[in-house]
């Protein structure tokens, strides 16, 4: 057995870095903190790669399956004898894979930020927050139990909040960060309730015992029912609610486009590559339960994923802010992953969807980070987010152009780039499972190609725009990560995921299904072609199209008015319909009752002052009547 206990340092190092930079960075070495943070991350990236290597290639498999290795575990908080929150490191294929993804993208983003954030106020704060995020995200994926996951789940939420609101003097950034936090918090409520229901029935938080296919949790969990569904299904639906929030699935997706107010490297890291896939990771982590004990919940996962992906893809076609396009694209792609999980079964080839999902997660992290960083470079050059203010940038930004093109081709699923492989697996899995979902995803593939190339053509080709300052290529700290990620996007498709990351840890055989692959490439090319026609050169056709489908366009452009619904719920319902009445009730009913007691007392006091009339004879009268009344009372009435 290989000793993995050093892996505890993978999350801890960024944590200490955060404390260190957070407390001391501002005063003592504001300039150096970027380098320090990057170095720290470089170390853990190396550690992660070593771990991945050791785990996948040197650790012995038992019974042909990768083992779940608890590299480190300590009790953090004891609830009851059985229920306790542990903090530890759990290594299994998906967590190791996530280690690689997170550290890679994070390192790239760190390096990129050295250039991108240079000279910004709060440079050291930015790196401190990045470290905090890295710590939280690593803690999340390495969690040994669901409660640890929840802890880090919250922590990534807050790091996301802090980073979205990095430009805290910008009202839109503040609003966006608030919205992101509250929406995900609401979703996390479901997660927490799910955990509670789960733990109440299984009496454990521990992943290994929870997800053991022959363990009590799964075998007994489907029994007890509530409202027609088994308790386990309920708990999994609630848990999934957390995933929906974090992964920006419909209907909790509304925070994601706004989150683009954050600095672009942050969008790349958190809102494209890592944090937003936490929901996918969560479902994958709990996959045996979903697949074996809560199939209804798994179906919900599939449909939510499918709906989100097409929903987002449609919106993405109409947006003009490049980051927003990318954000919806992210949502759409995560929908893919969710769908893949949803259509997967457990074990062997049945688990194709699971593998495909993880595969897509991996490749998506590469190319989406690349897209965002590329977008960052563009924004860096033109100081605007809007496609309408760009055009013909290929001349000014050659490296960005090339890498961006690679990324676009990848996401469009053009072979032999990585996106092709992973998307193909997903479509294959969907086809085997559910034709409707397959059709949806097939359409989404076309839409994806279309809107990505719409973006690409608008920015790098299209009309010649006059710029105030001539755009120039980003510095090396920014271009190097682009190149590295581009290489990654190209190559990662060849990683044999079916050997490494599978639903039951055992390798299975899967081949490229040409029946799926060819049509998907074709529809990708179709999308690219339409985009080429419409956006390669300045043309009036898009506007005409938009005018033709006025209402649908308007709906899509306004994101189907989801933000308005959100506003309605928060402002009108929560604030006007609940909070203000509660506050009013508190002041005017509850408090007023207390005050009324006081004023009634005083009122009575005022009313009865006539008794004390100062008239001696009235005193005597009261005296006599008092005595007589008492006598009557005790002689006749109350003896």
């Amino acid at each position: 057995m290989i000793n993995f206990s050093y892996t505890i340092w993978i999350p801890l190092l960024p944590f200490f870095m955060f404390i260190f930079l957070g407390l001391a960075g501002h005063k003592y070495f504001p300039k150096l903190s970027g380098i320090l943070g990057t170095c720290g991350l470089a170390i853990i990236t190396v550690l992660s790669y070593i771990t991945a290597y050791k785990y996948f290639f040197t650790t012995e498999k038992v019974d042909g399956a990768f083992q779940k290795i608890t590299a480190f575990n300590t009790t953090w908080l004891q609830f009851t004898d059985k229920l306790h929150i542990d903090l530890g490191v759990l290594l299994d294929p998906i967590s190791v894979m996530m280690l690689v993804v997170i550290t890679t993208v994070s390192l790239m983003v760190h390096i990129y930020s050295l250039g991108y954030m240079k000279g910004e106020k709060g440079f050291e704060r930015f790196f401190a927050f990045l470290s905090l995020f890295s710590f939280s995200m690593l803690g999340l994926v390495l969690a040994t139990n669901i409660f640890q996951m929840y802890i880090f789940w919250e922590l990534v939420g807050v790091s996301s909040f802090l980073l979205i609101g990095f430009y805290y003097q910008k009202p839109s950034a503040v609003r966006a960060s608030k919205k992101a936090f509250i929406v995900t918090r609401f979703a996390d409520l479901g997660f927490l309730i799910g955990i509670l229901i789960l733990s109440f029935n299984t009496k454990t938080f521990d992943f290994i015992s929870l997800t053991d296919p022959s363990g009590t949790a799964i075998t007994q969990g489907s029994g007890i029912g509530f409202l027609g569904l088994s308790i386990m299904t309920w708990s999994m639906i609630f848990v999934f609610m957390g995933g929906v929030g974090k992964s920006a699935m419909f209907p909790f997706h509304i925070w994601l486009p706004d989150a683009m107010e954050g600095p672009t490297p942050v969008s790349a890291l958190i809102h494209a590559a890592t944090m937003v896939v936490a929901g996918v990771y969560l479902v994958a982590r709990m996959f045996p339960i979903y697949a074996l004990a809560a199939p209804v919940a798994l179906n919900i996962v599939a449909y939510v994923g499918a709906f989100s992906s097409i929903f987002a893809a449609i919106i993405a076609c109409t947006q003009t802010d490049i980051k927003r396009v990318l954000a919806y694209s992210t949502m759409s792609q995560i929908g893919y992953m969710m769908l893949a999980l949803g259509v997967s079964g457990y074990g062997g080839h049945e688990g194709l969807g699971y593998m495909a999902s993880m595969f897509h997660l991996f490749t998506h992290a590469m190319f989406k980070a690349l897209l965002f960083l590329g977008a960052g470079a563009i924004i860096h050059a033109v100081h605007s987010n809007h496609m309408t203010e760009m055009g013909g940038l290929r001349k000014y930004l050659p490296i960005t152009h090339i890498t961006f093109l690679i990324a676009c081709l990848t996401i469009a699923g053009i072979p032999p780039l990585s996106g092709f492989f992973s998307k193909d697996e997903i479509l294959a899995a969907a086809l085997h499972h559910n034709k409707l979902l397959f059709a949806v995803e097939y359409a989404v593939a076309g839409l994806t190609a279309f809107y990505m190339f719409r973006l690409y053509f608008s920015v790098f080709w299209g009309k010649e725009t006059a710029y105030h300052h001539t755009p120039h290529e980003a510095p090396a700290t920014m271009t190097i990560p682009l190149i590295i990620l581009a290489i990654g996007s190209v190559l990662t498709g060849f990683i044999p995921f079916n050997q490494l990351v599978t639903s039951d840890g055992r390798a299975f055989e899967s081949e490229l299904e040409l029946m799926v692959a060819i049509p998907s490439v074709l529809i990708g090319l179709l999308g690219i072609g339409i985009a080429y026609i419409l956006y390669k050169k300045e043309s009036a056709i898009p506007d005409k199209l938009a005018a033709t489908f006025k209402y649908s366009y308007k709906w899509a452009y306004n994101k189907f008015y989801m933000d308005e619904v959100y506003l309605f719920v928060t402002k009108k319902i929560i604030f006007k319909l609940i909070s203000e009445p509660v506050a009013w009730f508190d002041r005017n009913v509850v408090d007023a009752t207390m005050n009324a007691i006081a004023s009634v007392t005083q009122g009575v006091s005022f009313r009865i002052r006539g008794f004390q009339s100062g008239q001696l004879q009235k005193y005597g009268f009261v005296f006599i009547t008092g005595a007589i009344m008492l006598a009557i009372l005790f002689i006749y009435l109350w003896k």
């Binding site: 009790t75 009851t80 802890i151 503040v174 929560i574």
Partner: protein
């Protein structure tokens, strides 16, 4: 002299010292000296306690001292602590310590201010060390009454009204409590023998269930008033809003904890059967407190009101958890008391400091303070995050323990109510973020705010002490949790023995 009585003696000596001072300038030095000593004593107590436990002492209460006081009524001055009291004593020392630094700049009737403040602390310390109901009650009232002067003299806004309301409502609570205590006393020897006020002795017998049914609600509501139980919480917003900084800190941070502690130690521990029988009523009330307080906070504009309603919500959670009557939930309740004590004290300290600079507490009149006074603002954010239950800070530990514990309740009704209570964490997030967003973030709206000074050294001490404690509990909750848990065991055993589920 036993170590526990020192906790009463040191404040008394400090007060005497302040009284004897001729020079008003040294008042705060003496006060801080005394309370620092108290803080050290608290640390020593924790150490002694843990080492005694470590060496195998399994008594329910440690360091028990018992002096006969009123022989004919069997009233004793009896002190003793278990892990719960030790934790709360530590909390009190920390908050008092921070409170003194937060009131560094009090100038008006300085001497009297510090005396009242420490007197208040004396009551609280006394309450936590007492194991005799009479002394407990004595200290309880002793803690309440200085509030009147503290708010009335040094407060702001409609201070006289608030002070009066607060005092009268709390005394109303203690009136019910008195009745409850008498009821317990006269039923403390159902099998004959000597009546007693001693909690430990009473816990060895079973109070007749008919008596429990009467006196449990009285005692629980009595303590509940101080613990801001709906609908007896309305003193809290007004009181906190009018109180000077340190008083809000102490009051919300410590005094409200007397309610939870008492409800737990007296009402439920001594009368578990009635507690179980009637808990559904109070569960409903407390869960209303939890949700209602949070919603109430959303609609407020005054920072202190927001925090007061937030306290209603959080303290409601304490009582809620206590009523669940299992070890985990109760453990959570105690941690929540400590956690809420620390972070609400932190909040009030910060609000006081902000008010001292901006002269307003209306959030809509402020904005963009982060840029101007980053230290205080960051601290405010941390406090807010603690309040909304961010992992790594104490609020999370407390809330999760409560929720997990409460959810272990075997009856479905309780679990559903728990889910309702859990929903408060979202509402909490809403109002906390709203405040942070409006108050600290965004552009600096008011030009007068451009040149506000950031925290002074004494303010930093105050704030850092509290944040340090919040973070310490949040990062390493296991020792606190196990210290409390060990002490809870006999209590829960008794409850379970009397209430087989």
């Amino acid at each position: 002299m036993d170590i526990l009585s020192l906790f009463v003696l040191i404040p008394v000596l400090t007060i005497t010292g302040i009284l004897l001072l001729k020079d008003a300038r040294q008042v705060r030095l003496v006060a801080i000296f005394g309370m620092s000593l108290q803080l050290i004593m608290a640390a020593v107590l924790v150490f002694l306690y843990l080492s005694a436990r470590h060496s195998g002492n399994t008594d329910e209460m440690l360091f028990v001292k018992d002096y006969l006081w009123f022989k004919s009524l069997n009233i004793h001055y009896a002190v003793g602590v278990d892990g719960i009291s030790v934790a709360l004593i530590s909390l009190t020392s920390i908050v008092v310590f921070a409170g003194l630094f937060a009131s560094w700049e009090v100038e008006y009737l300085k001497k009297e201010f510090f005396i009242s403040l420490i007197l208040l602390a004396t009551g609280v310390f006394g309450f936590f060390i007492s194991i005799d109901l009479f002394t407990m009650f004595l200290f309880y009232e002793l803690a309440v009454i200085p509030m009147y002067l503290l708010i009335g003299i040094w407060g702001t806004g409609p201070k006289e009204y608030s002070a009066m309301k607060l005092t009268l409502m709390l005394m109303g609570g203690s009136a019910l409590l008195l009745l409850g205590i008498l009821g317990i006393y006269f039923n403390s020897a159902p099998n004959g023998g000597r009546l007693t006020f001693n909690i430990l002795e009473i816990s060895k017998v079973v109070i007749p269930i008919s008596a429990q049914r009467i006196f449990f609600p009285l005692t629980f509501i009595g303590f509940g008033v101080l613990g801001a139980l709906f609908p007896f919480h309305t003193w809290s917003p007004d009181g906190h809003a009018s109180a000077p900084t340190a008083v809000s800190m102490l009051h919300a941070g410590v005094l409200m904890k007397l309610g939870g502690y008492g409800a737990f130690r007296v009402a439920i521990f001594l009368m578990p059967q009635a507690a179980k029988e009637l808990s559904w009523i109070f569960i409903i009330l407390t869960s209303i407190s939890v949700v209602y307080g949070a919603f109430g906070a959303i609609a407020q504009k005054d920072l202190k009101y927001i925090n007061a309603y937030s306290s209603v919500s959080h303290c409601g959670l304490v009582l809620f958890a206590v009523l669940m009557m299992n070890k985990t939930a109760m453990n959570g309740a105690i941690i929540q008391m400590i956690s809420h004590g620390l972070m609400t004290a932190l909040f009030f300290a910060l609000i006081g400091m902000l008010y001292g600079r901006t002269h307003t507490r209306m959030i809509n009149q402020m904005g963009g303070l982060m840029k101007v006074i980053p230290f205080l603002s960051v601290c405010y954010v941390i406090a807010g995050l603690a309040s909304l239950g961010l992992p790594g800070l104490s609020g999370f530990v407390a809330e999760m323990t409560i929720f997990v514990g409460a959810f272990q309740h075997p009856e479905l009704f309780y679990r559903i109510v728990t889910i309702l209570a859990i929903s408060s964490i979202v509402i909490t997030a809403v109002y906390i973020l709203r405040v942070i967003a409006v108050l600290l973030l965004g552009p600096t709206t008011n030009e007068h705010f451009e040149h506000l000074p950031d925290a002074k050294w004494f303010e930093k001490i105050s704030v850092v002490t509290l944040i340090g404690s919040v973070a310490a509990i949040g990062l390493a909750p296991f020792w606190l949790s196990s210290m409390i848990g060990t002490s809870l065991q006999p209590i829960v055993d008794r409850i379970v023995a009397l209430n087989p589920f």
